[in-house]
């Protein structure tokens, strides 16, 4: 479990509920839909194939009428009552993806605790420079290309 302070996040929580209850909130689509996205938005779980390589696809609606794509991910590991690992770097069709805002692998682990469940989330992210470059600096790259094309054009006109 190597963590990179600049790229990864790690959060732990003691949840006062039995491990089986937390597990079913994650693995029963009708229960997952109840907490996965913040209200008033609504979530629809399209696919929840809880096995390595299985699809994890959700849709999102702001008005409860029209649902738009939200997450298209793939499970890497599923250990009953213990662990769920998924990534959006590969989509549900196993196609390499460049998800916005960032590629990540999320590992959720559940352990028994005297007060209920010890819940831990570790999210490892892709390289933010690469992403910042794509998202935020694209405009500058674009202008550079335009300027270069313009220069080439005007040089050829002389």
């Amino acid at each position: 479990m190597n963590l990179d302070r600049d790229l990864d996040l790690d959060l732990e929580r003691i949840i006062r509920a039995p491990r089986a209850t937390v597990w079913s909130a994650w693995t029963d689509p009708s229960r997952l839909e109840r907490w996965w996205v913040p209200a008033p938005s609504r979530c629809r779980v399209e696919r929840l194939d809880l096995r390595p390589g299985g699809a994890f696809v959700t849709r999102l609606s702001d008005d409860g009428a029209e649902f738009v794509p939200h997450m298209d991910a793939c499970f890497l590991a599923v250990d009953e009552l213990e662990r769920i690992v998924f990534t959006n770097a590969i989509d549900s069709a196993w196609r390499p993806a460049s998800p916005a805002p960032v590629a990540m692998t999320a590992a959720i682990t559940l352990n028994d605790h005297p007060d209920g469940t010890h819940y831990r989330v570790v999210v490892r992210h892709g390289d933010p420079e690469a992403r910042a470059h794509h998202d935020k600096l694209g405009f500058a790259e674009g202008w550079g290309t335009v300027a270069a094309q313009l220069a080439a054009l005007t040089e050829n006109m002389q």
């Binding site: 790229l7 996040l9 509920a17 933010p128 420079e129």
Partner: protein, 112 residues
């Protein structure tokens, strides 16, 4: 974000050049000496140093001199001005965990 506007302008100015963006990307993998960095770019050292100074004056990198070697270090906090993505991801997961906790501890939702 409005209060960051002058800094942001500086950050974008510093990043509006392909050489400087390449330096930022290179330093994303770890610190490097000016000499080693400069060898990767087809320009004179004085021209390259101008780019380094622009990045430094806008806070995107720090340079640390040790003996005769000047090392460049990426300043991720300043990059985060452009895009504080990690804090945003943390907030999303914290809030998601809050909602899960509320859901599984609500007796109405979890009658056996």
């Amino acid at each position: 974000m409005a209060q960051y506007s002058p800094e942001l302008d500086g950050v974008f100015l510093a990043l509006a050049d392909p050489t400087r963006r390449a330096v930022v990307r290179r330093l994303g993998h770890g610190p490097m000496s000016v000499g080693d960095l400069a060898r990767e770019f087809p320009m004179t050292l004085p021209s390259f140093m101008k780019h380094v100074r622009t990045l430094e004056s806008n806070g995107l990198i720090r340079t640390v001199k040790s003996g005769r070697v000047r090392t460049c270090v990426l300043n991720r906090e300043r990059l985060a001005l452009v895009d504080d993505w990690l804090a945003e991801q943390r907030r999303i997961w914290e809030e998601r965990t809050d909602r899960l906790e509320q859901f599984v501890t609500d007796p109405e939702e979890n009658r056996q």
